[in-house]
């Protein structure tokens, strides 16, 4: 069964990059544009992994993560935080919230896949069958 990965980021660009990173793998990508939407999608879909941005409008990643950890069902979902801010205080705050891992923007797609692979089993998609020669 395909792994479900939820990307929560207000930047459509980042959501596209995250989706592109997991394209070679048997994954179903889910998206949300802020923490509030992310909680709704997480409760509905029970993803296997959440890639969560820190700074977002409406509800930021820290608030969403706090609410996830308060939920008996959702608190077990591993979360990788994506942040544009690598400052010591920011990283310490994220670590204290119990994330599985974090990644500072800019990041390479294979760094994200490597970190995700430590949380869930990623299986490469089967190559599309080639048309028989005429």
């Amino acid at each position: 069964m395909a792994i479900k990965i939820l990307s929560v980021d207000d930047s459509r660009t980042i959501r596209l990059i995250v989706g592109k990173a997991f394209k070679p793998y048997d994954c179903t990508m889910l998206e949300a544009g802020n923490g509030e939407e992310g909680l709704v999608v997480a409760a509905r879909e029970k993803p296997d992994l959440i890639i969560l941005d820190v700074t977002m409008p409406v509800m930021d990643g820290v608030t969403m993560l706090t609410k996830l950890k308060e939920d008996a069902v959702l608190k077990v979902i591993p979360v990788i935080m994506l942040t544009a801010e690598s400052g010591r205080d920011n990283v310490l705050q994220i670590a204290r919230l119990g994330v599985r891992d974090y990644l500072v923007k800019p990041f390479k797609e294979d760094q994200l896949v490597e970190k995700a692979g430590r949380c869930v089993t990623l299986v490469k998609r089967a190559a599309a069958p080639t048309a028989p020669a005429a």
Partner: protein, 160 residues
């Protein structure tokens, strides 16, 4: 404890960080070149992100030509420039790139004891415009070459 922030340290950090963002996210090699004035662009896309805190305020502007902005968007999204369907896709990518560059500066300022917050990105498009800093702010323009293209990072910063 806040350390005294020096403008040359800011520009040195931003030079390294711009090169890092373009290399990591776009696999593009950018190189700082001499100059302090904005070159002429036929059409320009500018991403802007503000930052502000108790000890430091300002904004970062990333200027790209329209054609190079499209190349940057395509590289970041893993598609060809011809597949870019509208300006909004380019705007999103330029905004995100500016966000990453300013996020790095914010982290650097925070580690130096000048905590600050950043705004969401905004985009300016046009052919001929300049952005005037407030009278008490310092304006720094960093010019880069990336192949045949120019990248300009304009920083407006007020310390203290």
């Amino acid at each position: 404890m806040s350390q005294t922030i020096q403008i040359p340290d800011v520009t040195e950090f931003m030079t390294r960080h711009l090169v890092d963002v373009f290399d990591t996210m776009l696999s593009m090699k950018a190189m700082r070149v001499p100059g302090t004035e904005l070159p002429a662009f036929d059409g320009r896309v500018t991403g802007s992100v503000g930052f502000g805190g108790e000890h430091v305020t300002g904004a970062v502007y990333l200027h790209l030509s329209e054609s190079f902005a499209k190349q940057v968007a395509a590289a970041m999204l893993g598609i060809t420039p011809e597949e870019i369907s509208d300006e909004q896709e380019v705007n999103d990518v330029v905004g995100e790139a500016t966000n990453m560059i300013t996020g790095g500066l914010k982290s650097w300022l925070c580690d130096a004891g000048s905590d600050c917050a950043v705004s969401t990105p905004a985009i300016i498009r046009g052919t001929s415009y300049s952005i005037e800093p407030s009278p008490d702010a310092t304006r720094e323009c960093l010019l880069f070459e990336c192949g045949d293209n120019r990248i300009v990072v304009e920083i407006h910063i007020k310390i203290g």
